[in-house]
């Protein structure tokens, strides 16, 4: 099964009048890291819970390598819930052994893997402590170890980076990349840390209000959305500077959208007339900007902005 792919095919979920998911489809290819982004309440957690089988979709299907996903397959998924889930009064190593064993490892293998992962995640010295005695960051590392200890064939992580310090973020990113690249384990994780998603992920899925807004590789999305955006930074000009030319529309300070007829050279000339041109060129939005433009300024981008 390693190297399998995950397909989510038009799943919908309602809670009474509230639409949590509507016809959401996405695909995760083997050996790919997929970032799952969207404002809070957009259905990311619901979708992940449906994939791991904690919730049932009202309609739609989740497939693993073409087959409808069943519980033996789900057992092979490493899952990290958003609220986390560990026994607070249990020893770290006992806890990981237990997770290993209930996923089918024998005792000796479970202990060995536990030690390996604790070592790899930098919390080996806390193996004998109760989980509740650990800092939140370290608990999170243990939580990740719990999803990795049984060598899953896929990883689904709900906000794995939230609350981690920069070193924790580096360790976790390293582990995810390694697991994905060396073992071909597909990873899907949700995050509000868009720079991180941009850096780590092969592809991105953006959802809003339970619907898919955009998906694809970051470059693809950038290309699709950077269509005819130009940057013209003029020294000394106010942020609201607008050349006022036909077919050239002010978007953000010094960012302009040119329609098909407009000539970038006209924009450059106007800029040179207005002052000293510091920067000029085609504008490539980052994921953060993409996110804002696809979700719309009203669509709960506040949380997304907060994460950094």
């Amino acid at each position: 099964m390693p190297g399998g792919s995950l397909e989510v095919d038009r799943i919908s979920k309602r809670y009474g009048d509230l639409v949590a998911l509507e016809d959401l489809s996405l695909a995760v290819e083997p050996g790919q890291i997929t970032g799952f982004v969207g404002p809070n309440g957009s259905g990311k957690t619901t979708a992940m819970r449906i994939i791991v089988g904690l919730l049932e979709a009202d309609s739609g299907e989740v497939r693993w390598s073409g087959q409808p996903i069943d519980s033996p397959t789900r057992r092979r998924i490493g899952y990290m819930p958003e609220e986390r889930g560990l026994y607070p009064k249990m020893k770290v190593s006992d806890q990981l052994d237990y997770f290993g064993e209930i996923h089918g490892l024998d005792g000796a293998t479970a202990s060995r893997r536990t030690l390996e992962w604790l070592e790899r995640l930098g919390v080996a010295d806390r193996a004998a402590d109760n989980v509740e005695a650990l800092s939140l960051g370290n608990q999170q590392r243990v939580q990740l170890a719990a999803s990795l200890v049984f060598e899953p064939e896929m990883l689904i992580l709900d906000e794995p980076f939230s609350g981690l310090d920069p070193i924790g973020v580096d360790v976790l990113s390293g582990v995810l990349t390694e697991v994905c690249e060396t073992r071909g384990v597909p990873v899907i994780f949700s995050s509000h840390q868009l720079e991180l998603v941009e850096r780590l992920c092969d592809s991105v899925v953006i959802v809003k209000e339970g619907r898919l807004v955009a998906s694809g590789t970051v470059e693809q999305l950038e290309r699709d959305n950077s269509d005819r955006l130009w940057l013209a930074r003029v020294g000394g000009a106010p942020e609201s500077w607008d050349p006022g030319l036909p077919g050239i529309e002010w978007r953000r300070p010094f960012i302009f959208r040119l329609d098909d007829e407009a000539d970038p050279q006209a924009l450059l000339r106007a800029a040179m007339d207005a002052g000293r041109v510091l920067e000029f060129g085609e504008h490539r939005p980052g994921l953060a900007e993409l996110f804002r433009s696809t979700i719309g300024e009203s669509g709960g981008t506040r949380e997304a902005g907060e994460s950094r």
Partner: protein
């Protein structure tokens, strides 16, 4: 993973966590010490330990008599402390001085005022027998024949149970309290364990790997097993202390009661443990578990109260009803057995009814648990619970 392996792993986790838990070890120790203390108190205060009687033996005849009096004195819980005197005069002076209570020799039995009456009777009896022996000797009877005659004149003793309490009622109350404590501790542990798994969301990771029923079974079995071990230790501490001190004769039905208490802990826990599991599974936070376990607690406490009155009237109609009523039976049956008032056919019927009720509750608990365990948010109301039960 097959269900049995999953349940085994879940049960083993419960056992290990209890062995690591200071709270569990302390509560076990406290109960063991408390029961041992009760046993010591009963032996010291209520027990009829041997009474020491200082006896003077006058001359060789006195020595013979006092030596022969040891066996019957033992039966009356008398411990004869013998002091030898050469003459009756010396013995009389010792009695007057209060050094000894009674003296025997060839003459009359000398007894100080307030001397132990059973000791006087025993010594008088043995002295008389001794006189008879020497009389028969003098009549020319061979010593062997004399001994034979004297032996045949002795009568045995047999204890006949009276309707008066023989200590069985004390055992009945004790067994009721111990079972109550054991069931409430273990039951509450199940409920709070289920809620802990839900509130920490760890259940979401476990349910991905095993069926809810297997997790539930493992949890109830693991906690029940440790409850049983705890009860076993407590019972052993009580019996052991009593036997070690040797002060009290345990009521005849004590061992039966202990064995039945262990059996009924198992049966009762299948019932109450499952009920507590259901109560835990319908809430998501520890704060809510107080109210959701309340009905089970009320049933448990109510049954216990009924059982205490059964313990004092072990042959009443109420006692028979309690024996056959599964929630009450775990307390009522050992209590009645302690008083020796439990007909075998009622016991057997009770066991059958317990097993039937437990089986039903295990089924019910499995159904509710697997539907409720992944639910979060507000507690599930009764009506919703019924709807959950009917859903496929």
């Amino acid at each position: 993973m097959n269900g049995r392996r999953a349940s085994y792993l879940a049960a083993r986790r419960e056992v290990r966590e209890r062995l690591r838990s200071r709270a569990f070890l302390i509560s076990t120790l406290v109960q063991v010490l408390a029961v041992a203390a009760i046993a010591i108190a009963v032996s010291v205060v209520g027990g009829t330990g041997p009474t020491e009687v200082k006896v003077g033996a006058i001359g060789p005849a006195g020595e013979t008599i006092t030596a022969q009096a040891q066996v019957p004195a033992d039966r009356l819980d008398l411990d004869l402390l013998i002091e030898n005197f050469a003459t009756e005069q010396a013995a009389r002076a010792a009695i007057e001085a209060g050094d000894i209570e009674i003296a025997v020799g060839t003459g009359p039995v000398l007894a100080g005022s307030g001397a132990s009456e059973p000791a006087q009777a025993v010594l008088g009896q043995v002295a008389a027998e001794q006189k008879l022996r020497s009389g028969l000797d003098q009549a020319g009877l061979p010593p062997a024949r004399t001994a034979e005659l004297l032996d045949s004149s002795r009568v045995g003793f047999e204890q006949v149970r009276t309707s008066e309490d023989d200590g069985g009622q004390g055992i009945a109350f004790l067994s009721t309290i111990l079972l109550y404590l054991a069931l409430i501790f273990a039951g509450y542990a199940v409920a709070s364990g289920v809620v802990e798994e839900k509130s920490t969301r760890v259940v979401e990771l476990i349910i991905k790997a095993m069926k809810p029923r297997d997790l539930l079974a493992g949890k109830v079995i693991g906690i029940g097993l440790m409850g049983l071990v705890q009860l076993l230790l407590v019972v052993a501490a009580g019996l052991g202390t009593t036997l070690l001190l040797g002060g009290v004769d345990l009521p005849p039905a004590t061992l039966d009661t202990a064995l039945l208490a262990l059996l009924y802990f198992v049966l009762g826990f299948a019932l109450y443990g499952c009920a507590f599991a259901v109560a835990g599974s319908i809430v998501s936070r520890q704060e809510d578990s107080q109210s959701s376990t309340a009905p089970v607690m009320i049933l448990l406490v109510g049954s216990y109260i009924i059982a205490t009155s059964i313990a004092s009237q072990p042959s009443s109609t109420l006692a028979v009803i309690g024996t056959l009523l599964p929630p009450v039976a775990p307390f009522a049956v050992p209590a009645r057995a302690a008083s020796g008032e439990l007909p075998l056919e009622q016991l057997l019927l009770s066991v059958v009814l317990m097993i039937a009720a437990s089986a039903m509750l295990i089924w019910l608990a499995g159904r509710v648990y697997e539907r409720a365990v992944l639910r979060t948010g507000a507690p599930i109301r009764f009506r919703e619970l019924l709807r959950l039960l009917r859903s496929p």
